[in-house]
Amino acid sequence: MLHAFLPSILGGAVVTVTVALSSLLIAVLLGLLGAAMKLSKSRTAKALATVYTTVIRGVPDLVLMLLIFYGGQLTINELAPKFGYNDYVDINPFIAGVWTIGFIFGAYLTETFRGALLAIPAGQREAAIAYGMSSRQVFMRITFPQMVRFALPGFSNNWLVLVKSTALVSVIGLSDMMNRAGMAAGATHEPFTFYMTAAAIYLVITTISVLTLKALERRYSMGIKVASL
């Protein structure tokens, strides 16, 4: 029975990876913004970013996802008639899922990026300014490459948790790998076979991620001396 449903489940795996990568993009942008806000001198920006990271990291992903999905649906349908649109609007679960996961992991990445920025000695930035670099050059040549190195271990962790969180989009009806495994399980009465297949594919995705991120860590730590024991 497995081979009949395998193409569908593999298609679902593509959806899962697409959701993960799209939400990562949003999360990285929000994380950079959040880290910049937390390290800025403005009190309002700091407070706003602190509320964001505290609330998001204190509430389960599933609750946030249901809140954004159902709440967004309600809001859009209340707003749509005001713009002269009277049909019922269904929220696209792909967009709802990607934004929710992006929004959640933006909070985790804020902390990762903030820690990485703080790990760069201030003297380096001062030296760069003394050399006459513009603030853009300071960021591109000095801050960014080192921030990547310091952020990679935390980032790897965040990414692995993110990939696993994407399984939740099946709950709001997106036809991802979990959703399709569930369909196949229902049609064949072989739930074990199909959920195990999904688990194996997740394992492949996380293993590839770990290997890739390890290689990146080596790349960005080039020239860094480590103590040999």
């Binding site: 609750v63 696993k164 569930g182 074990f192 076979t193 195990m196 394992l203 996380t206 293993t207």
Partner: protein, 230 residues
């Protein structure tokens, strides 16, 4: 804006949901930790035939989503006729048991890695000193390695406990009426998603702060010797 009346009138539902959430959390954390300690000792062992099987377990459970693990246990195992006819079936057909089982295995895997990491990070001098004092391997673990490694695990373990608290929300997907289940019930009854899920989020935030405070106190009690001196 928010319909406060509905929020207040459904509070009893949330409180009973919070009890379910806490029950799931404490059973999972307790069973997970109890199994994780001996397994972490094996995981930290230099002998591959002891550490590899445990590594495989943590690799699989940390590499797949909790939702898949829960579905394999709750829906998947029913595929096997021999299990449905065995004495274990009353257990595996109950959503309660399946949730506790899946959550315990999951948190166990993460806890093993935390504790094994702490064991491996013990200063080699401490182990040499204990050996020089003539301690047997068992005494070495009981007196030196485990007390110190478990203390040093506290900060990472507090993160794991909070992740598990959030993980228990998946119980609502397999019909349990935990906090998230209560929120979904309120949402489907009144179609008030903001009221329903914001109330649940508030409850989770309170529980998260409660856990954070608890671990903070535990660290103050057991990790004072590692605190930064002013």
């Amino acid at each position: 804006m928010l319909n406060v009346e509905v929020m207040v009138s459904s509070l009893p539902l949330y409180f009973s949901g919070a009890v379910v959430t806490l029950k799931l959390l404490f059973v999972a954390l307790f069973a997970g930790l109890a199994a994780a300690i001996p397994l972490a000792v094996l995981r930290a062992s230099p002998k591959p035939w002891l550490s590899r099987p445990v590594w495989l377990f943590t690799f699989v459970f940390r590499g797949t989503p909790l939702l898949v693990q829960l579905f394999i246990i709750y829906y998947g195992l029913a595929q096997f006729e021999w299990l449905r006819e065995s004495f274990l079936w009353p257990l595996f057909s109950s959503a309660w048991f399946c949730c506790m089982f899946a959550f315990s295995l999951n948190t166990c895997a993460y806890t093993i890695e935390i504790v094994a990491g702490a064991i491996a990070a013990t200063h080699h001098g401490e182990v040499e000193a204990a050996r020089a004092m003539g301690m047997s391997p068992f005494t070495l673990y009981r007196r030196i390695l485990l007390p110190s490694a478990l203390r040093r695990s506290l900060p990472s373990y507090s993160n794991e406990a909070i992740m598990m608290l959030h993980g228990t929300s998946l119980a609502s997907i397999v019909t349990l009426m935990d906090l998230t289940g209560a929120a979904r019930e309120v949402n489907s009854r009144f179609y008030l998603p903001f009221e329903a899920f914001i109330t649940a989020a508030g409850f989770y935030l309170v529980l998260t702060f409660f856990l954070v405070t608890l671990f903070h106190l535990a660290e103050k009690r057991w990790l004072v010797h590692l605190a930064a001196r002013a």
